[in-house]
Symmetry: D2
Subunit: 319 residues, 4 copies
C-alpha cells in the first residue's frame, strides 16, 4: 500500500507550518489539551450508555526484554511467607517498583519535557512553545514541562480508529504504516468523525503481534503513524494521540531528524500534541466492534510525579 | 468528642459478623467491587454536570521524610543539559522512578494481597475470602490477590463526606477520629446518602495539616476512621473507601490486632472492602462545597503491576 | 576426558561425610575461614616479591544480558553537563547503582545466608552449622550468616590452578568440567601445592569465552568444578574457592539436588567453604605464567552490607 | 586551638601553586597514585608483622538519615521464609542493593570524575589534568575519570595520624579541625613520618561521635582537615588521603568555592589527590596504639563500576 511519503524537508517545514506556539499564549505548556473544554467533557460523559469500562494499558511485567535497557523491577519488601510477626488480627505484605516510564513495554503519557526540537541546526533546542531544554536537569528533573501539568487528569471524548480492522489484518506489518488516507477511510468505515479536543486512539494491532510472537528486536521496527498524518492531526485539532506502538514508525524514514523525529518531534514539539505511548486497544477494539460504536468517555490519570518527564498510566474507555 | 470506642473483643467479633466471605462465591477476589454494576456506572456518568475534573492524588515527591523507610526516588536517564547527540529535529529526556506504593506519602490503592487476617491465633493467615497468605511470595510477588484484579479500572458514583467541614475545623486532631455518628451527620448536613456500590471519600483534612506543619513523626499519629465505622461501612455496602490518611487511626487503639488492625483488617480481610490510602480531598472539598453537591463520577485506574500488592493511583472526580 | 562422575547418592552422602559442622564450635559461622590464622597471613605477605597487584574482578556493566533478571543499573544523580550551580572552586558529579550481587555477571562473595541445605527431605533447611533458613527474612534480610561476618576482610595465601593452561585450551567447553585429577595435575605441572587455609583460584577461561563470543544463554551452560572435587577441597582444607564461573557445573548433573546443588550445596552448606563466584583470572594467569609462580598474597574485602547475603568484590592478588 | 586559617584568595592560588597537572604527562588520569611504585608496594608488604587485618569501612545500613537524599536500600529477591521450591540438596536466598556511593554514610573512594574545578570564573570546569567536565554525562556516566581507573586496586604503605589521640579527646568538635601543625605533631608523637606514595589516614573520631550521639543534621557540620593542610599534603606527596569524615570541613569556611571546595577542590582537582570519604579508624587506632606502630599495608579495592564516579570500598589495614 504505497502512499506518498513526505520528504525530510517537508517534515522539517511542518515545524513551522503546523506550529501551535503562541496559540494559547506565550507561557502555555498545555498545548492541545487546551482544546478540552468543560463542555467537551460533558459531551464525553454523555457517551456512556452501557456503563462498561475497558482498560487500554498493557501489563507491567518484569522479564528482561530487548525492548530497552531499564526493565521494570519488582521488589517485595514484605511477603506472605514465613511466620508473621503479629499473632492476631492483621499482618501485611508490601513491595516496591522500579519503573522507567518511557520503556517500550510500558503504557505511558509523555510530558512536554520529554521532547526538545529544532528545525534549524543553529537554533536552541526547546520544548513546545519555546521553553529551554536545559530546564530539564539531571539533579532536579523537569523544572518545566513536567507531567505534573496533567496532574488533574485528562478526560474527553475518545475515538478509536481501527486501522487493522479496516485493512482486515490482525496487525500492520513493519514498513506498512498508517497514512492519513487510512484515518479518513477508518472514519468512513466506522461512521465516526474526529473532532477538536478528542482523544484519538489508532489501532495497529501491534500488541497482538507481540503477544503471539514475542518481543521483537528493536531493529525489526513497528508500523505506526507515518509522518504524513501530521497535517491531519493538526487540522482536526486532536488533543491527545495514542497509537498502540510508540506512535512513531520504526525504523524511521528520517534518520537525520533524531529519535522518533516525526510524530514525537513535530507533534509534541510544534503542535503541542500529547502522546500516549504503548497502549493496547485489543479489548477496546472488540468492545467497539461489538457495539458498532467507536466513541466513548476516555480518562487518563497520570501520577503526579514531581518533575517527571512522563508517567505510566492506565487509560480507561467508558462505553 | 468522646464516642463509644469498641472493645478489642468487639472488633475481633466483626471478622465473622461483618464477613462477606462466600457472598460472591468461593473463588471471588473482587469483594465489594462486585457491588459496582454497569447500571451503577451509568448512574455515575449521569452525575457529570459541569464537566469539571478534580484529582484526589498527592504529589509524589522525593524528599526523605519520617513517613517511611523507602522514600520515592527519581533518576534522570537522560536530561536536557549539555550537548544533544542529535543535530536537528528531535532529542529527548527520560527518567526512572523507584516507588513503594504503600509508603505513607503516596496515594495508592491496596490490593487484597496487601492484607492477611485471622481472628483466632490457631487459624491460618489468609486474604479476603480465604486465600492463603503464602501465595504472596518474595520471589514471585502476589500470585493471588494482585492489583491486576482491578486492571480494568474502578468507576462508580463517588460521595465525599467532609467531616472536617462538619466539625468546622481545618483538620481533625490526632485522638479525635471519625465515628459512624460523624458519617450520619455529614450525610444529613450535606444532603447526600451513601448507597451500595459507592466509592466513599471521607475527609479529615490531614493533608492540609501536613502541608502547613510538615510531615509529623509516625508516633504522633493521625485521626482517621475509628473501628466503630466498620458496621456502618458493611451495612451501607460501600464498594471502596478512601480517607485522606491511611484510613486507620494511628496510633491504634488495638495494638494486639496488628498493623492497622481495624479498618484494614476487618475492612479488607473480612468485608472485602477496597481501600484507597493517602488521597487528598482539599480541592474536591472546595469544588463540592462551592456547588453544594457531594456526589460525582469517580474513577480510579491502578497500573497493571504484575503480581503487585498495590498501585499508586490518581483518583479523579468528575462533577 | 571422561572422568568418574559421582552419583547423586554419593553427593548426598557427602553432606555428612565431608561436614565441618561443629568443628569450630556449635555457634561458628565462619567455617573454613577459621583456617586462616595470623601466621598464615604473615606467610602470605611474605609472598610479595615484585609488588605487582592484579585484580580478579570483572567489570560491572549495565547492558541487559541473558545472564539474569536484575541487570545492574547506573543512575547519574548529577552529571558534568550543563551549567554548574557553582561559579568558582569546585562542583561535582555523583551517581547511584542498583546491584544484585548474585547476578551471573558480577564478581561476588557468597555469604553463608545464601545457601540452605538438607540431605534428607524430612529435615529442615539450614545454613552451614545448622542455622535455620528462616533467619533470612524478606523484611530484615540475613539476620544470621550475613556478609558482615567477613567485614574485616579476607587475606591469605592465594594459589591459582590454571586448568585451561594445563589442557592447552583457551577455555573449557561446557560438558568438560574440572575433576580432582585436574587439580592434582595442575599442581604437579605448576610446582605448587594447595595447603590448609589457602584461597584457591581455579581457572577455566570462561571470561575469555564470554568476551569473545558474547554472553551465552544460561541453557548452554558452563564448565566448572565437577562435584567430584568436593572431597579434594575438604581434604586440603581450602579456606575459599573461586572459579571463574559460578563454581558449579551448569547445567547440573544433579537436577534433583536444587540450584547449584553440588559445590554450592555440599561446599557452602556442609563444609562451610566460602565461594567467590564469577571472578576472572585472565590477567592473573598471565602474570603467574610469566613468573612461573602461582602463589601470591590474596585479599578480598567485601562491603559491610548489613544483613546481606553476599557482596560484590574486587579480589586482589599481590605478587 | 586557633590556627591560621587561609584566606579564600590563598586557597584559590593553590589551584595553581600546588598543581600536579602535567607532572605525569598530559594524558595522565591517575594523579598521585603514580607515586605508588612496585618498590613502594614491596616495602608496604614488609610492614606485615602479626598478620592482623583491620577494616576501615563503616557498615552500610538502610535507615533513612538526615545525611543525604538517597539512603541505601536492601531488597530481598528470595528469602529463607516459606516453603522452598526445591525438595533436597540446596536452595538459596539472594538480594539487591541500591547504593549511592557518595552518600555521607558510605565509605567510598572518589573517582576523578567526581570533582570539577576552576580557579577563574571565565575558565571551563575540568577534572584533574584538564579533562572537560562534560565527559561525565547523564546518559553515559563518566566517560573519563571513571573509578575503573583503579580497577586493579590500590596497595601501598598506610600511615594513621591519630589527631583525636594527640589531643586526648574522643572526637574533634565541629569548628575545631585539623591543621598541618596537628599532622606534624602527630608524626612526632607517634614516631612516624609520611612519605611519598603513602596512603594517609587521619583520625578525627567522628564515627564514635555518630555512634554515640546519632547522625547529626548536616548543618551542624564536622571537623576535618582544614584547607591549610593542602600544601603539606602536596609537599609530602601523599598518594591517597582518607579522613574519617568527608575530608572537608563542614560547614565550609569558603562558601563561594563550591561544595567541599578546599580539600576536594584543590586536592582532587589540582593535586590529583585521591580521596577516601567516610572511613572509620576506631578499630585501626586501637590496633595501632596497642602496638605503638602506626604504619601498615593498606589495600583499597574499588569495584569496577563502569563509568562510575566513585565506589563503595572496604579499606583493609594489615599489621
Amino acid at each position: 500500500m504505497a502512499r506518498e511519503i513526505p520528504t525530510e524537508a517537508q517534515v522539517l517545514s511542518w515545524y513551522t507550518a503546523l506550529s501551535n506556539w503562541g496559540r494559547w499564549g506565550p507561557d502555555d505548556e498545555l498545548g492541545t489539551l487546551n482544546l478540552i473544554t468543560p463542555g467537551k467533557r460533558r459531551q464525553a460523559a454523555g457517551l456512556v450508555r452501557e456503563g462498561v469500562v475497558v482498560s487500554c494499558a498493557r501489563t507491567i511485567a518484569y522479564d528482561p526484554t530487548p525492548d530497552g535497557p531499564v526493565a521494570p523491577q519488582h521488589f517485595m519488601l514484605r511477603s506472605g511467607e514465613g511466620e508473621a510477626t503479629e499473632t492476631l488480627g492483621r499482618t501485611n505484605a508490601r513491595d516496591a517498583f522500579l519503573i522507567a516510564p518511557h520503556g517500550q513495554t510500558i503504557t505511558h503519557l509523555d510530558a512536554p519535557s520529554h521532547t526538545f526540537v529544532r528545525a534549524d541546526a543553529s537554533a536552541p533546542w526547546t520544548m513546545y512553545n519555546g521553553r529551554p531544554r536545559d530546564l530539564v536537569r539531571t539533579m532536579d528533573g523537569a523544572t518545566a514541562g513536567s507531567i505534573e501539568l496533567v496532574g488533574e487528569g485528562i478526560v474527553s471524548r475518545g475515538v478509536l480508529l481501527d486501522v487493522a480492522r479496516l485493512r482486515g489484518v490482525s496487525w500492520l506489518e513493519t514498513g506498512d504504516p498508517v497514512f492519513p488516507e487510512d484515518l479518513d477511510a477508518a472514519e468512513a468505515a466506522q461512521g465516526v468523525r474526529v473532532e477538536p479536543g478528542d482523544i484519538l486512539f489508532v489501532r495497529t494491532g501491534f500488541p497482538k503481534h507481540r503477544a503471539e510472537q514475542g518481543p521483537r528486536p528493536p531493529a525489526e521496527g513497528v508500523a505506526s503513524l507515518q509522518a504524513a498524518c501530521l497535517p491531519w492531526l493538526r487540522e482536526r485539532d486532536v488533543a491527545l494521540l495514542g497509537s498502540d506502538t510508540s506512535n512513531d514508525v520504526s525504523p524511521t524514514e528520517y534518520p537525520s531528524l533524531g529519535i522518533n523525529g516525526a510524530i514525537h518531534g513535530v507533534g509534541m514539539g510544534a503542535i503541542g500534541l500529547w502522546l500516549l505511548d504503548n497502549p493496547t486497544f485489543e479489548s477496546l477494539a472488540a468492545a467497539c466492534a461489538e457495539r458498532g460504536r467507536w466513541e466513548f468517555l476516555a480518562t487518563i490519570a497520570p501520577l503526579k510525579l514531581e518533575h517527571g518527564t512522563g508517567s505510566p498510566v492506565n487509560p480507561l474507555a467508558m462505553l
